[in-house]
Structure formats: structure tokens, C-alpha cells
Amino acid sequence: MPWYFYLALKQLFPTGRKFPFFTAISVLGVALGVALLVVTISVMGGFAFQIRQMIVDTQGDVQVRGPGLIENPAELRSMLGRVPGVVGVTPFAEGTVMLEAPNKPPAFPIIQGVDVQRVNTVIPLDHYLIRGRLDDLDDDTVILSSLLAYSIGAQVGDKVEVSSPLLLERLKHDEVFLPRELRVVGIFMIGHQALDSNTVIVTLRRMQDLYGLGRAVHGFSLKLAPGEDPDAATARINAMLPPDAGVTARSWMEFNRDFLFVLQLEKSLIFLLLLAIIVVAAFSVTSSLLIAVVRKTREIGLLGALGGRPREVAACFCLQGFLIGLAGTLVGLGLGFGFLAVRNNIVHFLIRVTDSKEAMLRFYQVSDLPSHLDRRDLVLIVTSSVVISTLAGLLPAWRAARLNPVEALRSE
């Protein structure tokens, strides 16, 4: 071990002494910053992960659609199923309908027609059903989103009437298009207010009937094999699509680019704000090390007299910043992950004390705090913390390296 590294270690953790106060305070400052970063970025990441999962669960990894209808869906579905990396393909048709329950004002939800045989290979609808069964969905039944069901007072087994814009279209030609009476066989909750308050799911055939689509669909949702890069798979699919098909594939990330950008921007801003805590801690490290340079002037002179080069003396102080950063980061990671391990106990305790379970469920659809830390974010936190702490040692290092051994030895 080079002498300057050894001395840096010894000055922070001296032989035969308890943890020195200066070292403890410096390490704690960095540790608090790192712990806060880990907790905040993990919880934000947890919510973002849930939202991303929800998007993929409701839209699939990739969607193939065009400006109009896909008139020959069977052929295209078969072709999409053969694309390497694609493990599930399900067609869909969508629109807006008027939904009426007895003695309730009408609602105008979004309607999704799904292929009951295939939808579960792409969209885990079963997973989100809180009442009823997907197997019961047929051409005479309907599944409602939870808040929509609540607002129109519908329960499983109740009947609702669904009217499509085709009704108005037919009226223009003096034709009558009666609303379809469908029985509620399921209620789902995804955890996204917009979807939960405004979505109806019927079979693809019923949707085609309501909108007069014939055999046509609006598009396909695709599921990719685990670990498959959605953008790469999308490029592969687009390359295989016939030019005259009039449709294009877009990954879920492309579909939600603006939303994901806002999520990322939020996370980056929070990261920068919390990084300021580490920067402040680093200033305290700089100040303490500068004091150490002044206090140890004669020792620095001695090291010069013993044959230590200025750059080695500088390295000794810079390494102290590095070691404080490293120790603070490790302690901070321990504190952060320790807190995350018991976060739900703390949240449950706070919910119990403040009696706010209902509010949590209403606004966040969860009473647990999600947590997800990307390896990239973890690397970024560790690197930033260690680099900032090392930089904090630069000014003291420069001051120490500039000391003339003769003047340092003479200093009082």
C-alpha cells in the first residue's frame, strides 16, 4: 500500500483510538445524503415502475395500428406471431360508448373490444379483476372498471345498456339501432384513475357489432419475450410489415414518450436537489480537511523532508476525501436500504396514527410504499457521492502540496 494511502487511512481511523469525531461527522453527512437519495429515488422508482407496468399491462409491449381499420386482421396477426421475440398477439377495437344503468345518468366511457381467447397472452386482465371472472366474458356480457361501476352503481350480475355512435349514424338513414343490453360479469381495478373511472371491456365481436366494423379491428397489442428490448423488437416488426399494410408498430415507450419524459424529468430534478445534500456535506469535508492541513503543517513538512513528493502529499489529502466518500456511501446505502426494508411498517404505523388509510387508497390506490431502484440509478448515486467527496479533498490537497517543507518545518 503506498504510504500516502496508508497515512490517509490512519489519519481518518487512527491506531488505538475510537472513531474520531471529525471522521464520524464527515462520514455521517455524506451518509445522510446518500440514504435520502436511495430512499427517495427508490420510492419514486417504485411508483414509476408501477405506472410503467400498468402501461405495459394495458397496452402491451408493442402496438401495431394504422390510421384506419385493419380489414384483414387474421393474416396480419399470423404474420406478427412469427416475428422473433413476439410471444403474444391480440387484436383490439376501441371507441367511445354511452353506458346506462337503471335510474342513473348515462356515462360515456372508452370501450375496448378484446379477443377473449388471446387477450390474456398479452394483457393480464385476470390479474386486475377484483370481482368476477374473465372466462364469463362473452358477447352478451361486459366488464367495467371499478370507479365507473361505482359511479353508475353497477354490481356483478346487473344489466347495463350500451349505445354506440352507430346509433346516431343509423338515425340519419331513418334506421333504428337499439342499445345492447349487457350483463356485468366482472369489475377491474388497474390503479390508474383515468382508466379505472372510464373503461368498459367487451368481446371483440360485440365491439365490432357496436361499431359496425365487420371483421375489422383497430390494431394489435403484442407481448414480447422477457428481456426483449421493445424498441429493437419494434424495429424488427416494422421491417417485416408489408409496405401496403398501412400500419406501423410502436413500442409502449414510443406511445408514452411525453409521459415517460415527465417521469424522468421529475426523477432527475429530485436527484439533483438531493445531491445538494452531498455537496453541502462535501463542503464540510473540505473545511475540515483544510483545518487539518493547517494543523498538520509541520507533519507535512516532515513528510517532505522524509522524501515525500508534493503530489504524494496531495494524494494523501485527496484520498481522505475519497475514503470519507466511500465510507459515507456505504453507511448511507445501509441506512437507505435499511429504511426501505421497513418502509411499509413505518407507513402502516403513520396510517394507523393519522387514520388515513381511506385517503391513501383513494389517492394512491395503495397503502404500501412501492420501491424500485434501477442498477443505473444505484451506480449514479454511488459514483456521484464518491466523486463529490473526492473533489472535496482537492482544495486541501492542493494547499498541502504547495507547502514548502522548509517553511512548514519552521511553522509555529
Binding site: 490512519k10 487512527p14 491506531t15 483510538r17 516532515l302 523532508a305 522524509l306 522524501g307 522548509v406 518545518l409
Partner: protein, 214 residues
């Protein structure tokens, strides 16, 4: 072994240039012991710094084995230094302090550890290796500093008022040690001191007065 010729050194104090050394000539042979006395501020320490190669003269030159430069990597093998204020590193114990000089010089670890233990035994600090400087008396600290100065087996030991902070009896013990170890290891010694009795024990006594050695 070491030759200083016409060394001139001065300091600037405001607008004034103060000449400290005005042409010092000095030759030290291998294993020789030399004392330098002089009034406070006469330039004794400045002369030692020039001889150690950690300061440069305004004029004149120092020759170490005939060379006018003493590269940092050769300094440890050539010169050991002992100071009035010991300058032990407070965070290191006695053994680690002695070993630090060998570490800085890049000496092989195992050999340096053996040498450090041997020297601590020779200076009477066996059993005090794990003590911190704060747990040692003044005389013990200076003996630890002597062990540190000798750990790289230098050919010249420069001692700058090594008894200045010690009582008469302890100081005499330190001088015994310096002269004894110097003679034993054929290490030349330049002893800067105010104490005439200590100076008298060296083979050659010099006096620095008005910037010139006599």
C-alpha cells in the same frame, strides 16, 4: 561524502534582504561526527536544510558523493533527520512512526519492519511499539524520532537541536544514543546544538557566526 562550497542563503523580509549564510564551506567524511553551534538565528537550521537537500542555496553548491543534486528517491538512503520538536505523527503508534520513513522511501516491507523493531530495541523502546506519541515522554519521543531517522540506514544523520526540548539528563542520553548509533553504523552525524558539552563530544566542533563557519 558531503561537501558544501561557498553556500550563500538569505531571506527577504519586507524590502530588506537578510543574509543568513555568507559563504559556508563544509566537508563531512563518512562516519564523522561534527557539531555546529551558533547564536539563535545564526542560520544553523538553514544550513542543515541545505545539507539535507530540502532547500536550495542562493549561491554555492552542496555535493553529495560528488553530485550536485540529491533526487528525492535517493534522499532517504543518504540522509536521516532528527528535529527539536520530534515531529512524530500523532495518529501513528511508535512502530508505525518509525516505519513511515521506510514507507516514504519505498523500502521493502519485511526488511523495514525488521529494521524498525531492531532500532526501537536499540533506542530502548522495545515494548513501547504500540504506544502513541502522546503516551511517550519527551525523551522517548526523541528516541523514537532517532529510530525513524535511522530506519533507512542513511549515511548522514542531521540532528537539529535534538535536545532542545529535553532536560539535561534526558538530553545527554539522546546525545549518547546519536553518537553511539552513529559510530556503530558508520553514519556521519551533523549535530546542531546550543549545548557546549554536547558539542564537545563530537569529533569536530564548528561555530556558525555571521554566516560563516569557523
Amino acid at each position: 561524502m558531503l561537501q558544501a562550497a561557498a553556500l550563500v542563503k538569505g531571506y527577504r523580509s519586507g524590502d530588506r534582504q537578510i543574509a543568513v549564510l555568507r559563504g559556508v564551506d563544509l566537508t563531512i567524511a563518512a562516519g564523522e561526527s561534527v557539531s555546529i553551534r551558533g547564536e539563535s538565528g545564526s542560520g544553523k537550521s538553514t544550513l542543515l536544510h541545505l545539507l539535507a537537500g530540502i532547500d536550495t542555496p542562493d549561491a554555492g553548491a552542496v555535493h553529495w558523493d560528488g553530485r550536485t543534486t540529491l533526487p528525492v528517491e535517493r534522499r532517504a538512503a543518504m540522509i536521516g533527520m532528527v528535529f527539536q520538536s520530534f515531529y512524530l505523527i500523532p495518529e501513528l503508534n511508535t512502530f508505525e512512526n518509525v516505519l513511515m520513513a521506510a514507507r516514504v522511501a519505498g523500502a521493502p516491507r519485511a526488511a523495514a519492519r525488521t529494521r524498525a523493531r531492531e532500532l526501537l530495541g536499540r533506542v530502548g523502546l522495545a515494548g513501547r511499539e504500540t504506544h502513541l506519541p502522546a503516551q511517550l515522554s519527551g525523551g522517548e519521543r526523541q528516541r523514537a524520532a532517532i529510530a525513524r531517522a535511522l530506519v533507512n540506514s542513511p549515511r548522514l544523520l542531521l540532528a537539529d537541536e535534538p535536545t532542545g526540548n529535553l532536560d539535561e539528563q534526558t538530553g545527554a542520553g539522546v546525545i549518547d544514543l546519536l553518537l553511539g548509533l552513529g559510530a556503530e553504523t558508520r553514519t556521519a552525524l551533523v549535530l546542531v546544538t546550543h549545548n557546549a558539552a554536547h558539542a564537545a563530544r563530537t569529533a569536530r566542533q564548528l561555530f556558525l557566526h555571521e554566516g560563516v563557519l569557523r
